[in-house]
Amino acid sequence: MKKTPKVLATAADLDARRACINTETKDKIFMCAGGGCIASGAMAVKTALLAELKKHKLDKTVSIVETGCMGPCSGGPILLMGRDNVYYQHVAVTDAAEIVEKHLLKGEIVERLTWKEGPKQKSVPVQSDIPFFKRQTKIVLRNCGIVDPNSLDDTIGRNGYQALSKMLTSMTPDAVIEEVKKSGLRGRGGAGFPTHIKWAAARQSPGDVKYVLCNADEGDPGAFMDRSVLEGDPHSVIEGMLIGGFAIGSSQGYVYVRAEYPLAVERLQRAIEMAREAGLLGQNILGSGYAFDLEIRKGSGAFVCGEETALMASIEGRRGEPRPRPPFPAQKGLWKKPTVLNNVETFANIPFIILNGGDAFASYGTAKSKGTKVFALAGAVNISGLVEVPVGTPLNDVVFDIAGGIKDGKSFKAAQIGGPSGGCIPAEYLKVPLDYESLNELGAIMGSGGLIVIDEDACMVDVARFFVDFVREESCGKCVPCREGTRRMLEILTRICNGQGEMADLERLSTLGNSIKSTSLCGLGQTAANPVLSTLRHFMDEYKAHILDKKCPAGKCTKLVTYDIDAEACVGCTACARRCPVACIAGVAKGIHVIDQKVCTRCGTCYNVCKFKAVRRNGKTK
């Protein structure tokens, strides 16, 4: 038997260790242990499975691998049977016995737990046949859902740290930057700035001390790509940062992670320790003389710290307030030293680019935007979770072909993309390719990848108000346009939602929005008006309905909603009258009930409790 080197002193040691790793999946059950599936009870399922394996004396041969996010979070807990790639979802503790007895012992598929596709709910047992997986292209998520993030060997077995080894044995820093340039990789944090330009600028900046920072302060509500990468494949991020450090001449990196992501912090910390023990972080990495180490810094709940200069202020131990540029971080960044800051997803792409070449990466995507993009799908879609598609894939394909369309047979109204900095794309632009330029033209942005699908039940004015309220709360207060402007915008929007708006408010919103956009200090303020401006552009009818007709078409803005009772349908069960908090419903048992509109607070309780579809909201029943 070959000897497995514990400390990898040279590139040959890494090869030797890889050669010893058994990549056979036959006797493995892969279990998604992403944050979503853990919340769905995956760990209890694991305990139950282990007990069943033991009962059937399979515990010595079959093992359960805890992986990172497999993608379809709404289907959790999820299992993938290594023997035949059969995919099980919504697995409960009580299913463990059947899975072991039927699948493992008899080789039969447990149909009721398989993926169901289409209106006829046809069973699609094998993962590679499922449209959700089949239509994706995984570069960033290449290891997510396959490797155990707590096992260094799992990653090495999937070519982990191979790009590092290739770089240290055969590449110069300039060659690394050239390869990144060839790949056409653009920053995945939102702005889409070409990565190689940042790296080259930091490399050229004079100084012995330089820093590599990873922005894992994924604050956009509706985004969980970076969390999933850190939880599912932390070594790819570490490797990407090691490569970045070599390219710019840095020996110290920091990962700035949100405090809301305890599991990501835990797994990343463990991965850093494992890499250090194996000699992949620290002095003289793989015998090359290159030294690099990493430290995690946890955020403390300030959205603005996702902005690069605010993030650096926060690492320095100060209030996370942005500062004007120039000087750019590549010249004067963390502790006034040249600094490169990239997002988690950007770094996770780097090992692929170095190992397979920039051209391989550039073969995906559009003329101006290369590679793939990870999107976090949520909202009114049938399958919410994490997907990765080539840049330029039409929105339509993502929402309908991959995510299975809109929940409960409702209709697609808009896709909110890019979080509080982004905008809403209406149904007529469903064919838009998801790339930086096309989305900008529609007043949205690619952003970090949060994609929230909105159905007919949501009010677009309310959605705009939600985001403005978010940025108002999160504005650091340093510059006036953002601090005061977002507050004024919120006041106007609240007025409109309450039925007190006037047509001149629309003009005010647009003028105010555009001035906030052009005069704010940092990206937070510069994009704060996007949700308002994009809804004004695409959903003017809804604004007008609120202002002119004093109606909220979606029935969301409570002050503009009316409830009444359909005399034909009311059976006089008294449920609504008993629950009404202001006692404004008159009627006796078995008699028709009537709502007193003058007293009604429009809380909707009657609408929700009525079992006979007699209570109507804006004239419509449930």
Binding site: I315, G317, R319, L377, A378, I452
Partner: protein
């Protein structure tokens, strides 16, 4: 602040407070020469004491040789730092986009009703504090509620009582 808060009923609290101060001194010692130590030290201190009372801030200010004004400025800037005692369990109701559009508000209202406190407050027995969160990245499971580090998914207002019960009993 009400004076009786300092009187504790659990007995061992006073001793553990001294332990916490000793531990804080160690942490300051350890971090003293690290650049950018203030925020990590504040995070550890908050985890030890549950909140950041004035005397703790003063110790940190002196220990790290940072002006008190700066320490105070940092504490008030970040929403995770609290200068008032918090509950044993901090409940954060996600108000991110996905949770908002899928009924997060109704869940928050149910919690407020059940705990009889509003956002930012702590129950008199100091078991629960109620906060609003900004997206936990659990959007696929909306609406989500976090109790300390546990994420609860697809929460319906009707489940609130059961969820709280899990945390109420094992205090013994």
């Amino acid at each position: 602040m009400v004076k009786t808060e300092k009187k504790c009923t659990c007995g061992g609290m006073a001793a553990s407070d001294a332990d916490n101060h000793a531990r804080l001194a160690q942490v300051i010692e350890e971090y003293q020469h690290k650049p950018g130590a203030l925020i990590p030290v504040l995070q550890i201190a908050q985890a030890l004491f549950g909140y950041l009372p004035k005397d703790v801030l003063r110790t940190i200010s002196e220990g790290l040789n940072e002006p008190y004004s700066r320490v105070f400025g940092v504490v008030t800037f970040y929403s995770f730092f609290s200068q008032v005692p918090r509950g044993k369990y901090v409940i954060r109701v996600c108000m991110g986009t996905a949770c908002y559009v899928r009924g997060g508000q109704a869940v928050l209202a149910a919690l407020e009703q059940e705990l009889k406190i509003s956002v930012g407050q702590t129950t008199p027995d100091r078991v629960f504090s109620l906060d609003v969160g900004r997206c936990f990245g659990a959007c696929g499971l909306a609406p989500a509620v976090m109790v300390n580090d546990d994420v609860h998914q697809f929460v319906q207002p009707g489940q609130i009582k059961d969820i709280l019960a899990q945390y109420r009993k094992p205090t013994a």
